[in-house]
Amino acid sequence: MPFTSRSFIPRLHLPLALAVLGFMSLPRAAMASGLDAPMVGSGQSGPTTRDGAAIHWNPANLAFMKKGEFFGGLMLVAGDIRYQRSYNGTYQSPDTLQFKTPLDAQNIDPTKAGPANQVKANPVAPLGNIFIVLPPIKNRLVFGLGLYVPYGAPLKFDRNGPQAYQLQQAFIVASYITASAGVRLHDKVSLGAGVSYVLGFAELAKLQDFGSVKEFGDGLKQLGQDNDFGPAAPTDVRELSTLGRPIALKKAFSHGVTFNVGVTVNPTEKLSLALTYQHGAKMNYRGKFAIDMNDPFFTQDLAPQGLKFKPLVQGDATLRFNLPKRITLAAAYDINLRWRVDGFIQYVRYSEVDAFTVTTKSPDLAQPKLGIGESLTVTLPRNWKDTVWVEASARFRPTERLLLSATLGYQSSASPDKTIDTASPDGNRLIGGLGGGINVSPRVALYADARFQGIIPRKVTTSEYDLGNGTYKLFLATIAGHLKVRF
C-alpha cells in the first residue's frame, strides 16, 4: 500500500527560516524567513512523515521505511513583494552635500516626506529536491541521501526606487547535501541523525550610502569636514546622490557543515510524536564585489586631499553570519483510516543573528591620507528575534489511491521594526496549503501541492534612521510536483 497509515501520517512543514545574506558595505542583507523556500519535499512531508524528505525533517523517521525510495520533485515559487516606503525623517536635496546637521532650510528636500511610490518584486524561482533512501538492514537501519534547496530568494526591485539604498537585486540560494541514518531502537522508538554540507550562493546589488560608512565619515573629518556620517547618521545626511554608489556582490559562495538529529516515538498505533533539532551553521560567503565610484567627487575633485578612488573598485568580499539553531516538536494522529491530523511547533533561535559582518578587501579601497585601508569591515545590525512556526494539517483519503490534505500555519517575524528592510521583508506570516497524492502503481506515486504564504501588511514606523519605514506586503505561492518510486 503506497499510503500506509504510517507513511501517510506526518505532514508538518518544518521551518526553513534562515534569513540572511547580507552584504558588507551593503548595510543590509537580502534574506529573511519571508524568503525561505516554502517547501522541502512535498506538501505531505514533515517531521512525522515517513518519506525521503525525512532526511531534512526528521531522520529518525527513516528507520520506519522498509523499502528503498527515490523521492524527488520540482516546485515553482512565485512571489509578490511590495514595499511602499514612508519618509519619516528629514532629508536634504540629494544633489547637495551638507554633511552636518542642522540642515540649511533651503537644502531640505520637501519631496522626501511621507509615502513614496510603491515598489514591488515578483520573484519566480524554480526549486527542487532529490531524496534517496536505502534500508541496508530492514526494520533496523536505514540510510538516506538528500539534495535539496531549503533557501531560495530571488528579488529584483526597481534599481532607482526609494528602496535602492536597501536593496536593488538579490539572488540567494542555499543547497543542502545531507547524509542521514535512522535507527529503529524499538517498535515504538527510533533515532536519526544527518550531516549536511551546506553550499551557499549569493549575489546582491544595492546603492551603498557612503554617508553611513564610518570610515568615510572619519576620513572626511581628517579633511576638516565635520560631518554626521557613520552607521548612526541621521536621515538629514543620508541618501545623497553623490555618495550613493552602486555596489554589487557577485558569485559569493559559502561552504558549511551542519547536522540534525531526531527522535520519533509512537506510543500508540495512532499517535506519533517527534522531536528534532537542527543545528546551526557558520556561513562565510566569499565572493567578489564591485563599487561604481565613477563620480568626480570620489575620483578627482578631492585627490589633493587624498580621496581618489578608481572609477570601478573591485575586490574580494566576505559575508559572515550564523544560521540559527531550531528545535521542533511534532505530533500526528490517525483519527481513522481516512482522516489524520498532524502539526508541529518550531522554535528558531533567530536571535543568534544579531548582525551581518561584511568585509571587503581591495587595494583600490585604500585611501591612506584618509585613514581608509585596503579592508573595510562593516557590521550590520539585525538584532533579529527568535521565531515560532506552527502548522497544522488535516489529511483525508477518499480512496485507497488518493490522498488530499489541507494545511494552515503561522510564522512569527524575525525582523524587528528597527532593522527591517526590503532585504528581509519579513512579517507575521500566515500559511495555507492544499495537496494531494495518487498511487499510480504499487511502486509509484505522484504528488501535487499548492502552498501559499502571506504576511499581514506590516506598517513600520520605528525603523532605525528611517531606513525601512513604510508598509511591507508579501505573498508567496508555490506549486510543486513530486515523484516517489519505491524499490
Binding site: 544633489d95 553550499l199 546589488a205 579633511l223 569636514q225
Partner: protein, 588 residues
Amino acid sequence: MPAPRILPFALSLALGLPLALGASSCVQAIEVPDEGPGPGELPVGATTQVELRYLRLDVKNFEQALDLAALRKLPRKTLDELWLLDFDMTSSVGFVLDELAALSPAEADELTPAAQNMRKLLSMTADNVRLEGTKLEDMIALAGAVGLPPARVLAALMQTGVTDNAIPFDVVADVFLDLLLGSHPNAQQRKGPVDAAHPDGLYPITPRSLPITLGDVVYNFESLPTRFGPVDEHPGFVIAATGITKGEDAFKMYVRVNLNALPYKGVDLTSSYVASVNSTDSQIARVFDFDDPDWMRIEGLKDELEIAEMTVRILENDDFIAGGSAREPAPLGNSPAWDLPDWEFERLIIEMARKRTELIGDHCDAYELGTGVNAFEACVDGTGWTEMTTFTDIGNPPPPAYFWDVLAEVAQVRLHDPISPGGTPIPEGEADVEFTLKNIKIPLDEPAILAGIKGNLSANPQALADITELLNDNSDGDADFYYYRPDDAAADDDDYLYFITADDLRVDAEGEPVRPYSYAHPGFYADAGLAEKLSDTAEIDGDTTHEKLKVSPGQTVYVEDDAGHVFKVEVGEKPARSSLSLALTRVR
C-alpha cells in the same frame, strides 16, 4: 576556484533545476562606462550636451601639512619672497677666517689658489711681507743702516710684534661684511608685504646679515649664488652654496584652511570637455582665519638651519692700485682705491688697512746708528699720516703717506706672492680671493620665525593663494566658463555662469599657467557677433573679477572660447536643484 562554480551546476543538474543558473549571473554586474575621449572639437553647426553640477564641500580648520617636496611646487618667487630672518654673518665669517689661518701648510696646499690668496692675506705679518715695490721699499735701506730687519721697523710702526697678524681677523670680517656683503642689493633690501610702513613693499635688511627665506629652506640654500651673485653692477660674491639636507623629512608647514574644497565644474568649449576649475582663488579672502593663532605652524625648524658650504669670492682689480701720497682730500687721502667699488679687493683692503690704522696710536720711533747718532725716525700721527725722517746720510726715507696707503700696498704685493716659494708671482688682476664658509649654523627662534611667516603671508594674498592652490590642486581640463551658485541664501536657487579669469587658468608643476589667457571677448553675449554683452563683473560673494551671468532654463547666450570659436549656449531644464544642462552649438 573551479570547484565552487562547478558544484552548484552539478547540484542544479542533479535536481533538474535551472535555479543555480544564478551561479553564472543573476544580479546585474556593476559596470563603469568607458569615458573615452570627449567629442573633441565641434565642427560649425554641431551641438553637444553637457551637464554641470555645483557641489560644495566646506572644510573647516582643515590642517594640512606641506613638506619640502610639496613646497617645491610653489612658485619660486613666492618662496623667495617669504622672509624668515636676517642672519648676522659676523661670527660665521670670523670663525672661518680663524680656521683658514690655522690650517697647516699641507692643508693649505689643498686649497684653491684663490683660497690660498685669502690665507696669505690673513697670515700677513710684518715679518713675511715684501716691501719691494711699495712705498716702504726705501725703508729697507734705512733699517739696514741701523742694523735692524725691516720687519722690526714695520712692526714698530704698527705697534705690534713682527709675527702678529698685520690685519686682525675681526677687521677683515667687519670690512667684508660691511662692504662686500653690504654693497649687494639683495643684502640691503628684501621684498615683503606692502603696508603703510612699507608702501613699496621693500624692507631693509639688518647690516652684516643674510636674509634667509623660505626658498632657502625649501631649496637647500641653492639660490644663494643666484641671489648673491651678479646683480646690476655688483658682481656678486657667493659662487657656491649647499645646505644641510639632514632634517629635510622633519620640516613641515601646517596650515589650517576653511574653504569649499571642490572645484567648479565648467566647460572647455574647444573640446566640449567638462572641466574643473580650482575654486581656491575665488575664496582666498576666507580661506585662512588669521584670528586663529594656529592657522599656521611649522615643525622641523626648532633648532637651526645649516649652510653646509658657502664659497665667497672677492675679485681683484686688474691693476695694481697704488696707495695715496697726500693728506688731501682728508681724511682718507688720494688713493684711487677709495674710488673703487665696494666689492673689489683693493677697496676692501684699503678699508681694512684704515681700520687697522685706527688701532695705531700717535707715536714716533727713533732709530740710532751704532754710534748713538739718531739715524731716522718713523712717526704715525693721530690721523694715520705716516712719515719717516732721516738725520744722516743713510738713504732716502719713504714718501709720507697715510698708513693705510702703506699697508694696502703691502697687502697687494703680498697677495701676489708666489703660491710656493720660488714660484712665479701671481700676475696682477688674477689674484682673486676666496674663502669657504662651512657649517654655518643659523640658530632659529621658531616663534619669531613663525610670526614672521604669518605676517608675511597674511599680507600677501598671492602667496596665500599659491599655497592654498597647492593644497587644493584640483583643476582638470581648461574650462572657458564654469557654473556657480551664490552662497547667499536669498539667492540660493540662482544659477550663474562665470567666465574664467587669468587666475583660473590651470597651472603646471612649476606653478605657471599651462596656457595664456587669450580670450578676445571674455564674457557672455546676446548675439553671435558678440556685440551685446550680457554679463558683468558685479559683486557676488566678494567676487568682482569674473564676468558673470545669471541664467535660467530656456535662456540662450553666446560665448567665445580661447581659440576664437563662438558657441551658442542654450540652458536646458535643470536636471536637479544644483545642476545645469547646457546645449552647446558651435556657430562659428
